[in-house]
Every structure is written in C-alpha cells, then in structure tokens.
C-alpha cells in the first residue's frame, strides 16, 4: 500500500484514504479490520474518501481501539464496553433519514444517496464527555448545514430536533424492565447552532464507515457541546418552532440542559467540569488537563451565545 505525505493536497480535493492516513493511523485501521471478525458491528466497515478540513485539530488522535471500545450508547447497555459488544445487532442497511416539519422540501433520504451526494470531509475534533473524559476523533462527515439547505426550512423553523432509531428487537438496552431513558433518544439544536460550520453529520471515523457502537450509519457531532448532544443512528430530523425536548434533559433536567455547552466554569451538580482526562494519554497515571471554554472552540462559537447567562442556560 502506498503511503505518502499529504503536504501538497488542497483541502478541497478529494483525497484517497490510503494517502491521507499516516502510517500510525493506517496501522490502527488495519488492527481494527483484524478485529472485525470479533465485533460483528465492524463487519461492514467500508473505506470512505474525504477531504481534509481546516477545522481539524492537530492534537494527537485517540487510538481507534479506544474510540470504538469506550462508548456511551445506552441503547446497547450502560457500561462503556457494552456498545462494542451489543451494537452488532443493529441493522444499518437499508437506512433512511426522514426530514420533516417546517421545511419546504420534506423528504426521506437513503443513507447511500446521502453519502453519495455529500462532499465528505475529515474533521478531527476534540470530544468532551459530560462525565469528565475526552478524546480526539477523526470523524468523516459533512456539514449539517448542507442538508438543512437542501430541506429549505421555513422562516418559522427555529430549532432542529433529532431522533434515534427506536428498535427494541435490535437494541438490547431498549428491552430492560426499567428504561434508563425515555426512548427513543432525542436531541435538538437551535437553528443557528445547527447551521454552524463546525456542526457535522458524521458517517465515518478513521477513514471508514462508522462502527455501530459509534452511531452508525449517521450521527451528529457538535464539538463544542458535551458528547451526549451527539445523537447516534439518526432516523429523523425535524424542523420545529419551539425548543424540542431532549432525552437527557427529560431524564434529569437539573443536570443536563438543552444547550450543554462545554464550560469549565459551570459544574455538573454532582461533579466538577473544570478538568478532564484525555483517554489513552498516560494510562493509569494520566494527569487531568484543564477543560477549555466551549471545548476549545470559543473563537468560532462564543458569539452564538452573546448576552446569554451560561449558568442559567447550561
């Protein structure tokens, strides 16, 4: 396999996967492929071509193994290793995303068509979980704004609501006697947050289609918000006038707000948000690092919240 430095490639160019992945990443990818037999969810992982993005961080990537084995995806269990073990049962093909509500062009798009008609980019983002840990993940996706423009939202549309697949037969976490959350998982963004260039719909990571445990076939990534805003396995995107209900906010409104912007100065009621542990950094003896305002994306997004009391709108 040819491995070449990507120094002479424009961000706008579609770059073959073999070229833009550096050797370390490629080896992690190869290891992932080797494990595909053990994890049924990875069986269908297919390479994706994506252009580099100026929005990417140059921080050290979290290993593919950690990104795909340490997950919060309560539809498949509440332990971090549950999704990698259990998410293989989710059938991600065929898959359609329904776009409805206050739009000029309501539609239902098949995932293959969506990927084919989008310009995929690699976005290397920090991901900060509300639990106090973080990762650096090379997502492959496209700006949510691309899809929103295609749907032609009406002037009355102020918010975007998202819904995860609701399939008890395929999702073991939906079959528990006491539901952990009010299924299906729902999330939402203000329309200007949804239109922000940093907000993407991811269809892959590490140059391949998403493993099921990471939210295949399509998920939201909003890098300046806590990870739980990144709703997985999306089946429906609705444009609405009023702020939509979101799963964690319904579960515990005092702890999980609608906005959920990463903010080291506003603690979770039960734990501090001032610092975080970067997964895979230093093993057992890893030091905490300070959490950055808006997860380090303040320059791009702080203006969205001008004049807002972020302690009130947490």
């Amino acid at each position: 396999m040819l491995i070449r430095r990507p120094s002479d490639i424009l961000p706008s160019e579609i770059t073959p996967r073999e070229i833009y992945l550096n050797r370390r990443q490629w080896m992690a990818g190869a290891a992932g492929l080797g494990l595909a037999a053990a994890f049924p969810g990875w069986a269908e992982a297919a390479p994706l071509s994506a252009a580099k993005s100026p929005f990417s961080t140059d921080e050290k990537l979290t290993s593919r193994e950690d990104v795909t084995s340490y997950n919060n995806y309560y539809e498949f269990g509440v332990d971090k290793d549950d999704p990698a073990k259990n998410a293989g049962t989710l059938k991600t093909s065929p898959w359609t995303v329904k776009i409805d509500g206050l739009v000029g062009k309501p539609q239902e798009i098949g995932i293959e068509d969506l990927i084919k008609s989008s310009t995929l980019e690699e976005r290397i983002y920090r991901m900060r979980c509300v639990e106090g840990w973080s990762m650096v993940i090379p997502w492959v996706g496209f700006p949510l704004s691309d899809l929103i423009k295609r749907a032609e939202p009406l002037g009355s549309a102020k918010y975007v609501a998202f819904e995860t697949a609701n399939r008890p037969n395929e999702m073991s976490g939906l079959r528990t006697v006491f539901p952990v959350l009010d299924w299906p998982y729902t999330e939402g963004l203000r329309l200007d947050e949804a239109m922000h260039p940093l907000t993407i719909l991811a269809v892959g990571l590490y140059g391949e289609t998403l493993p099921n445990q990471n939210g295949a076939p399509i998920r939201l990534v909003v890098p300046w918000k806590y990870g739980f805003k990144g709703i997985k396995s999306i089946t429906r995107i609705s444009f609405v006038e009023k702020q939509p209900q979101t799963a964690w906010n319904k579960q515990t409104p005092s702890e999980y707000g609608f906005y959920a912007n990463v903010n080291p100065n506003v603690d979770h009621p039960r734990w501090s948000q001032a610092t975080e542990r970067r997964i895979g950094e230093g093993g057992l003896f890893a030091k905490r690092r300070p959490t950055l305002m808006f997860n380090g994306y303040a320059e791009q997004v702080a203006s969205l919240y001008n004049g807002m009391d972020l302690k009130k709108y947490y």
């Binding site: 309560y74 639990e131 952990v180 579960q251 039960r270 734990w271 501090s272 542990r277």
Partner: protein, 214 residues
C-alpha cells in the same frame, strides 16, 4: 457476646471445613493484585484509572455486604462463617482505602484544593468520605485486644456502625452514576434486605435479654 454466640452457634451449625483465616486474606486480595497488574500493563481498557477506581470501590462494597450476610446465614441457615467475619470486614476496609487512594492520588493527582471542593460540594463524595471515616474505627478495633478493652457489649454497639456504612456505600454508588442503571440499585436492594432482616428481627424480639433454656 459475639464471640460466645459464635461458639454456641458453631456447635449446632453445619460442619463446614475450616480453612486458615490467612487464606481469606490471600484470596481476598487477588482482585486488587490483578487490578493493579492489569492497570500497569494496560489491560483495563480505555480509561484504566476509572476502571481501577470503580472496581476497587465495588470490591469494598462486596466485602462489606459479605460481612452483613454472616449473621443471617447463621440464624436462618445454620451456616456458620463467623470466624471469617473479621477478615472479610477488614478486606472491605482495605479495599475502601485503596479506592480512596486511587481517587486522591491517581484521579485527582493529590490536588487537595480540588479534593476539598469535591468533599464539600459533591454529595456522593461527601457520603463516600463519611463512609470511609465510619469504617476507620471499626477497622482499628477489629482485634481481640479491642474487644477486651471495650467490653463485648460496647464493642458490639460500636460495630453496629457497619449498618450506616452499608447505607452510605449504597448511596455513594447510586449518586455517582448517570440515570438509574440497574447495578447500583441491585446493591442497594441487597443492603436493604440485609438491614431490613435485622430490623424485623429486632422488632419481633422481646426487650428482655434472651436466655437459653437451662
């Protein structure tokens, strides 16, 4: 009183093969040794510190629950494991200590300002710390000398604090997780049953001390 009761119960209990108490300690420390080894050799997953911290806490809780099962096992099933109770109780304390060290040293990096803020501001840490403080005098007095010095009744009274520690551990576990996952609730239910058993039994008993027929 407890010791005498054990002798009496032992006579009518099952004839279980007796093993040296040191074996309880050796077996009891296997999880800790394995966890530290796995942690150092990068076998505890993506967030090894968190796994170590949680596992040590859970083992402390398991041993704490185990000490609370000794009496019902004896009273209801005539299974007498009383001679191992001290070892099991001390294991609970040692695991709680390792859990606390993991939190203060590995998790917080001995940042005492952050730890202090946690203890004051975070109910689950306040409760966890209080639970550990309760276990300290129990561990210190878990020896024959202390029983003699305090007298059996006072010693037994002091060690009733273990009930409070069990409640504290259950709350600590429930408060540390998001939503209501099953595992902490199962632990809490076990504690409720074990303490409820004692409550029901004490209510049903006459206030006068029990006497054995002559």
């Amino acid at each position: 009183m407890q010791e005498r009761a054990s002798v009496q119960a032992a006579k009518k209990g099952f004839a279980l093969p007796q093993v040296p108490k040191i074996l309880v300690y050796i077996v009891g420390f296997i999880p800790a040794v394995w966890l530290f080894y796995a942690g150092i050799t990068d076998q505890l997953g993506a967030d090894p510190m968190r796994t170590l911290e949680q596992e040590l806490g859970e083992w402390a809780f398991r041993f704490l629950i185990a000490t609370l099962t000794i009496t019902p096992l004896r009273q209801l099933f005539s299974v007498n494991l009383l001679r191992y109770r001290r070892a099991i109780g001390l294991l609970a304390f040692y695991y709680a200590l390792l859990h606390l060290i993991t939190y203060t040293v590995l998790d917080q990096g001995l940042d005492f300002a952050a730890i202090g803020a946690d203890i004051v501001k975070r109910p689950y840490i306040t409760i966890g710390m209080a639970t550990f403080v309760i276990l300290v005098p129990l561990a210190i007095t878990s020896n024959n000398l202390s029983i003699r010095r305090l007298g059996g009744q006072a010693w037994a009274k002091l060690h009733k604090l273990v009930y409070l520690a069990a409640i504290g551990a259950a709350l600590h576990f429930i408060l540390v997780v998001k939503s209501w996952p099953l595992e902490p609730l199962i632990y809490a239910a076990i504690v409720a049953v074990l303490l409820g058993y004692r409550l029901v039994r004490s209510l049903g008993r006459k206030p006068a001390p029990r006497r054995r027929p002559a």
